[in-house]
Structures are given as structure tokens and as C-alpha cells.
């Protein structure tokens, strides 16, 4: 059934157009990586702040408030460019083990980011005084770092995994 889906996508007009011009896929991949760059930076700086390694003089909530809007904007760009890449070469991704791993890591990573966006309640529970955070928060920050690192890692591996 997955094979039917990828065949159907590959036969759409959009897919054909994307594949017909040689530079389109590298260009969309570049936009994809640039957006990932913004996401990784936002997430890592927030995580490093929660771990008290970055910008200790600023309260955690201020760092979050500044970086999270950029994170969501970049996530939208990543989703858009990623969708175009899937549309162009559905067989390269949808049936790819590395792609599956990437998506499985991405979901919890985004859930963690979304919880942070709720801000106040999160603050009351975990970031009392907002300048330092508890062990639970620090643990989640480490998990977040590993998940996003894994997303990038698995993403690069898509190019090397044969399709299933």
C-alpha cells in the first residue's frame, strides 16, 4: 500500500515538475538544512540554558520567549521544504528506514518544544525563580538535545539507506 502511495505521489504533476529541473532538489534541500540550522540553534540554546551552561544571567523564560517563535517559524519552513522533497522523490524517503527513525525522533522532540511554549504553567512547575531549573527539567533538556541530534543524524542517513 505504501508502494502504491509513493507511486501515486511520484506521478503527480508537482513531483514531475520538481524532478524535471536539475537544481530544484539541491536548492530545496539547502532551504531545508538552513531551516534545520535555525531549529537546532534555538533548541540547543534553550537546552543549554536549562542546563545552566548558556547565558546564565538571563532568566530561562526570556530565552524561551525569544527563541521559540523562531523555532516554530523554522519548523514550518522545514515541514514545507521537507514535504516538497517527499513529493519530488517519495521512494527516497517514505519507504526509507532512516526516514522512519527520523520521524519517530522528531515527534517527541516537537512535543517537548510545544510544552515549553506553554510557558507559564511550565515555569510554575519546573523553573521556580526562572534562573535555575530542577533535575526533571535538566533531564528533559538532555533528552531534547539527543532527540534533535538524532533527527539530524537520521536525516543525513536517508541518503545512504536503500529503500525497503
Amino acid at each position: 500500500m505504501l508502494q502504491d502511495t509513493t507511486t501515486w505521489i511520484a506521478n503527480t504533476q508537482l513531483s514531475e515538475v520538481l524532478r524535471s529541473v536539475e537544481w530544484v532538489i539541491p536548492a530545496v534541500q539547502t532551504v531545508h538544512i538552513l531551516s534545520i540550522s535555525a531549529i537546532i540553534t534555538c533548541v540547543f540554546l534553550i537546552d543549554l540554558r536549562i542546563l545552566s551552561l548558556f547565558s546564565r544571567s538571563l532568566p530561562i523564560d526570556i530565552i524561551k520567549r525569544r527563541l521559540l517563535p523562531w523555532l516554530w517559524g523554522s519548523l514550518a519552513m522545514v515541514a514545507l521544504s521537507g514535504s516538497l522533497l517527499i513529493a519530488a522523490e517519495p521512494d527516497r524517503s517514505l519507504t526509507n528506514v532512516a526516514f522512519g527513525i527520523k520521524m519517530s525522533l522528531l515527534i517527541p522532540a516537537v512535543v517537548i518544544a510545544a510544552f515549553r511554549h506553554r510557558g507559564t504553567r511550565w515555569k510554575e512547575i519546573c523553573c521556580e525563580g526562572t534562573s535555575s531549573s530542577g533535575m526533571k527539567d535538566k533531564f528533559i533538556a538532555v533528552v531534547s538535545l539527543l532527540l534533535w541530534g538524532g533527527v539530524v543524524f537520521a536525516g543525513r542517513w536517508i541518503a545512504y539507506f536503500g529503500t525497503g
Binding site: 539541491p26 536548492a27 534541500q29 539547502t30 538544512i33 538552513l34 534545520i36 540550522s37 535555525a38 537546532i40 540553534t41 534555538c42 540547543f44 540554546l45 543549554l48 548558556f54 547565558s55 544571567s57 538571563l58 525569544r66 523562531w70 541530534g149 539530524v152 543524524f153 536525516g155 543525513r156 542517513w157 541518503a159 545512504y160
Partner: protein, 165 residues
């Protein structure tokens, strides 16, 4: 000794050979490289956007640089090391690769831009450290840096489509 001889020697080292011959090593080192470069470019952009008055504009520029740039340098070290390993694996063909040459050119320009900014533009930073609207040279440095890092990443991606080993 010409460059091709050096590249040939580099390519024959045991590290380069194992990276080239292993189906696991090259993609893994490459994935680390992408992760490191992503953070370098993104964290440099944090400073660039501050210089342009787009983000974090109520933050002291000096403080922001003190906070962010140590991580940038750490990631850059990682990117340079992984990049060198990747290049050594096929040094001879990479030495003739156009996108790679362009990438290194843009990287050198980014370095010059950074040096100029820190040695010249920053001399009177105490006067505009807290200002939203920074002097023109500072904004130009921010804009140039943003553009150069976009080009560096674009060329980096292009290498993957151009190099036939």
C-alpha cells in the same frame, strides 16, 4: 611538492582509507559535520540578527557575543575536524571540486568579515553596545555574515551532488 601529491598522501592515510571504505563511517562523520555546521551558522546568525536590529535588540551586544560565541567556536572545531576527515577520504577528487572551492572561499570571506568586525568596527562598541540601531559597518558585517553562511551551506550541499569519486 604539489597539491596533488599532498592530497594523494592524505587519501592514503589509514584514517582516510577506513572512512572511504566503510559504509558506516562516512555517513556518520558527515551527519556530525552537518549537525556542527548547522549550529555554527545558526549561532552566528543570532549575533548577526542582533547587529541588524532584528532580534534580541534589548540585549547588550558584547554580552550576547560572550554568551553565544564560545559555543559557536566549539561547534566550529567539531565542524572543521569532521570536515577534514571527510575531505581526506577522497582528497584528490575534492581538490578539483568547484563547489568545495567556492565553499572555502566563502568561509575565508566570513573569517575576514569577522576579523574586520572584531578588530575595527568593535573598537567603539561601548558607544553602541546597547543600541537597537547599530552603526552602518556593524549592520553590514551582520548582513555579510548571514549571506556568507547561507552560501557556505548551499555550496556544502552542492558538493554532494557534484563529486563523483
Amino acid at each position: 611538492m604539489d597539491i596533488q601529491t599532498i592530497c594523494g598522501w592524505l587519501q592514503a592515510t589509514s584514517l582516510a582509507t577506513s572512512v572511504r571504505e566503510s559504509s558506516f563511517l562516512f555517513p556518520s562523520v558527515e551527519a556530525l559535520h552537518v549537525l556542527a555546521v548547522a549550529f555554527v551558522a545558526g549561532s552566528v546568525a543570532v549575533v548577526d540578527l542582533r547587529l541588524l536590529g532584528v532580534a534580541a535588540f534589548n540585549r547588550s551586544i558584547r554580552q550576547l557575543m560572550r554568551d553565544v560565541l564560545p559555543f559557536t567556536w566549539g561547534a566550529f572545531g567539531c565542524a572543521a575536524l569532521t570536515g577534514a576527515i571527510l575531505l581526506s577520504s577522497a582528497a584528490v577528487s575534492y581538490s578539483r571540486n568547484l563547489p568545495l572551492r567556492l565553499k572555502m572561499t566563502f568561509l575565508a570571506l566570513a573569517a575576514i568579515n569577522m576579523l574586520l568586525f572584531h578588530t575595527t568596527t568593535c573598537r567603539d562598541i561601548s558607544r553602541w553596545d546597547e543600541a537597537i540601531r547599530t552603526p552602518m559597518p556593524a549592520r553590514l558585517a551582520g548582513a555579510a555574515s548571514l549571506l556568507l553562511w547561507i552560501l557556505i551551506i548551499a555550496c556544502g550541499r552542492w558538493i554532494g551532488f557534484s563529486n563523483s569519486v
